[in-house]
Each structure stands twice: as structure tokens, then as C-alpha cells.
């Protein structure tokens, strides 16, 4: 359960003027009065339902270490590991 975070600055303003938290960094903020008024919100991975192209974590992994597979593929993965 967390309060709503303020909007993140763009990448360039973070790179050039170091405003706000960088990509992947925990945002360092105190919830404002408006956010407290709204109350806390449940936070859980929803596999990026609102983003086209699937989970952002998988697309953001440069080495291909993060993959999303179904249960039946998981069995294949384990058998492949055993071999």
C-alpha cells in the first residue's frame, strides 16, 4: 500500500539537470496533502496491462535474462535444465 507518487521528470531533465529520481531509482518523496487525501493504493504487478507490447521488465532486459512464460513452457524449461 503506497501513496500516489508525483510525476517523474523526463529522461533528459534527469540526465542534464539531475531533477527527480532517475530511471529505476526509488522515488524519494514525501506524499503531498492531495495524495494523502486520496489515500493509499494497492500496488501489485499487473504485467503492464495498460502498455502495448507486454511487460516492460521483459522488454527492458538487455541480456534476455527476464522472460515471461506460461506454465506449460515452464515444464519444458525445467526439463531443458535437467539435460
Amino acid at each position: 500500500m503506497v501513496y500516489e507518487a508525483p510525476k517523474k521528470p523526463g529522461l533528459w531533465s534527469w540526465l542534464l539537470f539531475s531533477t527527480g529520481s532517475g530511471p529505476g531509482e526509488q522515488p524519494d518523496y514525501k506524499p503531498g496533502a492531495a495524495a494523502k487525501e486520496k489515500g493509499k493504493k494497492a500496488v501489485k504487478c499487473d504485467a503492464c496491462v495498460s502498455v502495448s507490447g507486454g511487460p516492460a521488465c521483459v522488454r527492458a532486459c538487455p541480456t534476455g535474462a527476464a522472460i515471461r512464460i506460461g506454465p506449460e513452457q515452464y515444464v519444458d524449461l525445467l526439463e531443458e535444465r535437467k539435460r
Partner: protein, 294 residues
């Protein structure tokens, strides 16, 4: 095969792209007229090669933007990285054909040299990204580094408690070796697993601070004491102490190896990125100077 490394992304699609780029560049190079001067960057083919190279460099640096844009849907970062590796390697050929192997002590060759440093540090990074993760997880045997440290602290406590029951020389040696064990250190120490640990050797009348590299010297001190153990209980304690110290030595070795492998996995980026920035500056100078003296 569910997991694919970045070199085999989509059947090594970008390998074929970069091979096509290399073949195209070679054709451009070969079609330069050789009657007046040797092939160089001044012919129209040379300009095309140079433009391709400069645009490639700009695109290659864009990976740092793309990999931080987590919400971006412009391809997967793995695909970008795969293309970055293959096209970055092809850049070596493109730029070499552009300069026509004409080198000198000038800003043009500086840009070329910086580009080579960037590309070869990238090769090292690729090598370590492919090899080191496996070595790191084998070394840790599936656990985290914090678990290794927890094991080390537990062994420290047990060894110190047991050493208190032995002769005073042994107690001082073991206690001081625990206190003066050095892990990590500077860049050189981390990358080459240098051990600057010490322990105190106390012989009753005098004491000396001795090097304890690889935690071996303190084990030798305890082992030397074993034949001269006074009572039956001390011999048993000393044997138990040697077992603990050897286990401790193994854990310290594993931590050092973990630090070394992680260090090699990361050190190349400390060259790759600053050299890329220097390359961008040198490239800009190279382009400005070329047209200034045209």
C-alpha cells in the same frame, strides 16, 4: 531453448545486417578511383562511408537512452543490444575503410583511436556478460553475497571462541587474523583479488605483525602448535580450530572471487562510456575541421 543470448537474438538477424553493411562498405571502397590519390575520406565514396560511420556512432549511443526508457515500445532492449553489438563491430570496418588506413598525429586519428578503444572495451564487456554470470552463480552456489558474509561472521565467532580455550599465542593469532582480515579495497585489489590481511604472531616475549595472505599463515601457526599441545583437550581444540580456519579460508576465497568477477563484469563500462563521450567530441571536431579546411 527458451532463453536466447543477445548474440542469437532472432536468429542473429543483426549479424546479417552488419555483414551486409560490411560488404556494401567494401564495394564503396573498391569503386574509388585510384588514378590521382589512394582511397581516402575525400572522394564521394569516402564521404558516404564517413556519413554512415557518424550516423552509426550516434545511433549506437542512443542505446543508453533506450535502455532507460522503460515504457518505450520501440523494440525490445535485447534486440537493441544485439544490434548495438553487431553494428558496433561493423563500425570498425566502416571507419577503417573511410580513413583508407591514412593515420597521423591529428584529431582525425584521435577520433579513430577513441572509437577503437570504445569498440574493444565493448568486446570485453560482451565477453564478460556472456561468461561471468555463470561463474558468479557457480561460485556463490546459488546463494547471495550476504549469505557468504553471514557464514564468514559465524565462523569468525566460533574460531575466536575456540581459540580462547587454546594457548595464548594461538588465541592472539586467531583473534588478530579475524580483526585484520581485509576484503575488497581499491580497484586493483578487487580486480586481482589481492589480500592485504595481517595477523599478530606472539611468542611470549615478543610479538610481530605478519602478512596473512590467503589466510594461510595463521593456519600454519595453529598447525605448528598441534604437536606441542599440552593436554589431550588442547589437541582436540586445535584440530577443531584448524577445521574452522580452513572453512573460513574457503569462504574468504569465495567472497574475493565474487568481488573479482563482479568487478570485471563492471569495470569495462567505466572505459566504454567516458571514451564514448570523448569520441563524440573528437568526432564533432573531426567533422568541423574537415569542412573548415575544405
Amino acid at each position: 531453448m527458451i532463453h536466447r543470448g543477445l548474440l542469437r537474438y532472432r536468429g542473429a538477424r543483426y549479424l546479417w545486417w552488419s555483414l551486409a553493411l560490411i560488404v556494401g562498405s567494401c564495394v564503396l571502397y573498391a569503386t574509388q578511383p585510384r588514378d590521382l590519390e589512394p582511397p581516402n575520406g575525400g572522394s564521394w565514396q569516402g564521404y558516404v562511408l564517413g556519413t554512415i560511420g557518424a550516423l552509426l556512432i550516434l545511433w549506437l549511443t542512443l542505446l543508453s537512452i533506450r535502455k532507460r526508457s522503460y515504457r518505450s515500445t520501440a523494440g525490445s532492449v535485447q534486440g537493441w543490444t544485439s544490434a548495438h553489438v553487431y553494428l558496433g563491430s561493423a563500425l570498425l570496418i566502416v571507419a577503417t575503410l573511410h580513413c583508407g588506413l591514412q593515420f597521423g598525429w591529428n584529431v582525425h586519428t584521435l577520433a579513430y583511436a577513441l572509437m577503437c578503444i570504445v569498440i574493444f572495451s565493448g568486446f570485453f564487456g560482451l565477453y564478460s556478460y556472456i561468461n561471468h554470470p555463470q561463474l558468479i552463480s557457480n561460485n556463490r552456489q546459488g546463494g547471495a553475497r550476504a549469505e557468504l558474509f553471514a557464514e564468514l561472521f559465524e565462523l569468525n565467532k566460533q574460531a575466536q571462541a575456540l581459540a580462547q580455550k587454546c594457548a595464548s599465542g594461538v588465541a592472539i593469532a586467531v583473534g588478530s587474523s579475524v580483526e585484520r582480515t581485509v576484503i575488497g579495497g581499491g580497484v586493483y585489489s578487487q580486480l586481482f583479488s589481492k589480500d592485504h590481511s595481517f595477523f599478530v604472531r606472539d611468542s611470549g616475549s615478543s610479538s610481530a605483525l605478519l602478512a596473512n595472505a590467503d589466510q594461510q599463515a595463521v593456519i600454519d601457526v595453529v598447525a605448528e602448535r598441534l604437536p606441542r599441545a599440552e593436554k589431550g583437550a588442547e589437541a582436540a581444540n586445535l584440530q577443531q580450530l584448524i577445521v574452522l580456519l580452513c572453512r573460513r579460508q574457503a569462504v574468504v576465497r569465495r567472497i574475493r572471487r565474487d568481488i573479482r568477477l563482479r568487478g570485471w563484469l563492471r569495470i569495462w563500462l567505466y572505459f566504454h562510456i567516458p571514451m564514448t563521450v570523448a569520441l563524440l567530441v573528437a568526432l564533432l571536431l573531426h567533422i568541423v575541421v574537415t569542412f573548415f579546411y575544405w
